[in-house]
Symmetry: C2
Subunit: 347 residues, 2 copies
Amino acid sequence: NEQFNKNPHRRLNILTGEWVLVSPHRTKRPWQGKTEEVNKEQLPSYDNKCYLCPGNTRASGDTNPEYQQPYSFVNDFSALLQDSPKKDFEDGLLLAKSEKGICKVVCFSPNHSLTLPLMKVEDINKVILLWKEEYKGLGALHYIKHVQIFENKGGMMGCSNPHPHGQIWAQESVPEEVTKKGVQFKKHWDNKKSGLLGDYLAQELKQRERIVIENQHFVALVPFWAVWPYETMIIPKRKLRDITHLSEEETMAFASIVKGLTTKYDNLFNISFPYSAGIHQAPTDGEEHPEWHFHMTFYPPLLRSSTVKKFMVGYEMFANPQRDITAEEAANTLKNLPDVHYSLNTI
Amino acid sequence: NEQFNKNPHRRLNILTGEWVLVSPHRTKRPWQGKTEEVNKEQLPSYDNKCYLCPGNTRASGDTNPEYQQPYSFVNDFSALLQDSPKKDFEDGLLLAKSEKGICKVVCFSPNHSLTLPLMKVEDINKVILLWKEEYKGLGALHYIKHVQIFENKGGMMGCSNPHPHGQIWAQESVPEEVTKKGVQFKKHWDNKKSGLLGDYLAQELKQRERIVIENQHFVALVPFWAVWPYETMIIPKRKLRDITHLSEEETMAFASIVKGLTTKYDNLFNISFPYSAGIHQAPTDGEEHPEWHFHMTFYPPLLRSSTVKKFMVGYEMFANPQRDITAEEAANTLKNLPDVHYSLNTI
Ligand SMILES: O=P(O)(O)O[C@H]1O[C@H](CO)[C@@H](O)[C@H](O)[C@H]1O
Ligand SMILES: O=P(O)(O)O[C@H]1O[C@H](CO)[C@@H](O)[C@H](O)[C@H]1O
C-alpha cells in the first residue's frame, strides 16, 4: 500500500494489543546527535582476563571448567535469588510482593570470539539443546512460573562481556510482556479456535512482503508492527508452546535460521551487530497453554549506520513506541543482504 | 521495611497497573561494560551554527526571530503531519490507521547555554506559560485528542541539539502510556470517589520516605514503583486535570520545583544530568476527565556515576522493567544533595 506507507500511521501489535507510531518520511531529517563508538577490534579465541572463558576464575572466585560445549552456570550477581524470603506488602496504595527466582549465564562457545553468526550450525544447535534443558529443568521447579531466555549483544545493549553468552532469568511470576501476549493468544484461541501466530504467519507467507529468510521449519520476518528499525521475529511453522517440543530436525532448522538471520544483521553495516534477543514461550505454570506459539524476537538499536542508533526516549517513553522506516523497507533491506558473513568474504 | 528492601521483590505501579522488579543487592556487581562520554565543555550563550539560537537559519531554510522569550515553532522534521490523508487499513490480522498530528519545538531560552536548572524561576515560569498556551491551542483543534509535552536532555537521551529545548507532539489518538493511566485513574475514581494520585500523594506526605523536595503547591518524589534509578515525579497538591488550571501562584511554584529538582539532578554527579521528562495530562478529547491529576515525570538513565547508565535491555525488554537500587535509597540520596547548583558554588 504505497500511499499509506508514505504517511504517518499507527499499526497494531496483535501480540501485545498495543499500537506503534510509524513515521516513514522521518529519516530525511539530518542527524547531529550522538554517535556510537564501533569496536572493530578482532577478539582472540581465548582471553585470560575474561571471566567466561574456560578455566578462568570469575569475579565470585569460582573457576569455570575447561568446557568444550555450551556451558551454563548461576549468575554470580543474580537479580533474582532462590532463597528470597516470602513476603507480601500492602499499605494503602503501596503494593509489593517478594519474588524468588534463578538467573543463569549461558556461554555459547568456549571460543571468546565466536558470536552466533560465526558459529557452525551444529554448534548453535548445541546452544539450543542447552536452552531446552534449562527451560525444562528450571520450569519444572514448583515455584518457577516463567523462564526468560535472552541475549544482550554488544556494549550498546548493556552487555558487559564480549565473550558470546546469553542469560536466563527464571521467576515466580509471569512478567508483564509475557502476560500481555498470553492474553492476546488466549483471546484469539477462544474466538477462532486457531492459533494467533500461526494465522498471522500464514498471512505473511501469502503476502511475502516482510519475510527475510525462510527454511523448511522456520520463518524470519520483520513483523508488521515492528518497533525497532530492524526488529525481526523467528517463528516456527508448527504451533509449539515451547522449544522443548522441537524435533531434532526442527532444532537444527532453528539453529540454521538463527545463523542466517544474525549473518544478515552483521552484513547490514559490516560490524558485529548489536541487539537484544529473547524467546517468548508458554509460562511454566502447570497449565497446558495450547494457545501459545513460541517465537524469538530481535531488537537491534541501530538505525542509520553502524554509529547512529534509534533513541527510544521522550515521546516513546511517555506516549507510544515510534519508528522512522516502515517494516516493509527494513525487510527488503535485510532480505537483499548477502547470506555469507562479511568477514568470510575473501574477495 | 528493612528486611523486605534487601531482597528481590516486585512493586506495583498504580498509575499503569504494571509491575517492576526491584533487585536492591544488585549494584554490588562489578561493571566492565560500556561507559558514556561526558561533555563537560562550557557552552557559549550564542552559537552561530545552532539552528535554535535567535536569528539563525534552520535546516529547513526558515529563520528564527530574535526571540527574547521562550519560543515555539513547528518541527522541521515532524514525525506527525497535519495533512496526513485519512485512511484505515485492515487486512486479516494486519491493522493500521492513519494518524494526523503536529510536532513542535519549544526553545526554553534565547541563551544557548541555559538549561532549566540554570534558568531563573521567573524564566522557567515563562516556559510553563508557553506550555499552557500550546496545550490549550493544540488541544482545542477538533482532531487533536492528546498533547504530549516532553524534553530529551543530553546526547545520551537522543537529544541532537544542546540548545535547551523541549518538544510537543499533539495527535489524533490517545497514546498507550496515557491510555493505561487513564484506565487506572478512572477505576479509582469510580470505586473510591476520590483521585488516585491525590490519595497516593497523601500517603507519601504522611510517610515522608520518598520525598525529595516540597513547596506550598508541589511535591517532587521518587515514586514507590520507580523504574529508572533516579526517576522522580512532580505532583501538584491540588487535583488539576492539566496545567492550564494552575493559578499564577501555582505556576510559579511549579517553576520553582522544576528548578530545585533539576539542580539536585545536576549535583548528583556534577554534570549536566541527562533525562527524558514528560507531562501527563488529561486527553483533549472533549471529555471532562475529573479523574485526571496531571504530573511531570523524569526518567534519567544514569545509575552509578556520570558515565555508567542503567541499560533497559534483554530482560527489561522481554519481561519486566527491573531496577538495581530501591526507590527509598534513590530518594534519600537526592534529598541530601545541595540545593545550589554545583557550577555556582564559588567555594
Ligand atoms: O526529535 P529529535 O530530538 O531529533 O529526536 C529525539 O526525540 C524523538 C522523540 O522522543 C525520538 O523519536 C528520537 O529517536 C530522538 O532522537
Ligand atoms: O546482567 P548483565 O549482562 O551484567 O546486565 C545487562 O543485562 C541485564 C538484563 O537484561 C540488565 O538488567 C542490565 O541493565 C544490563 O546491563
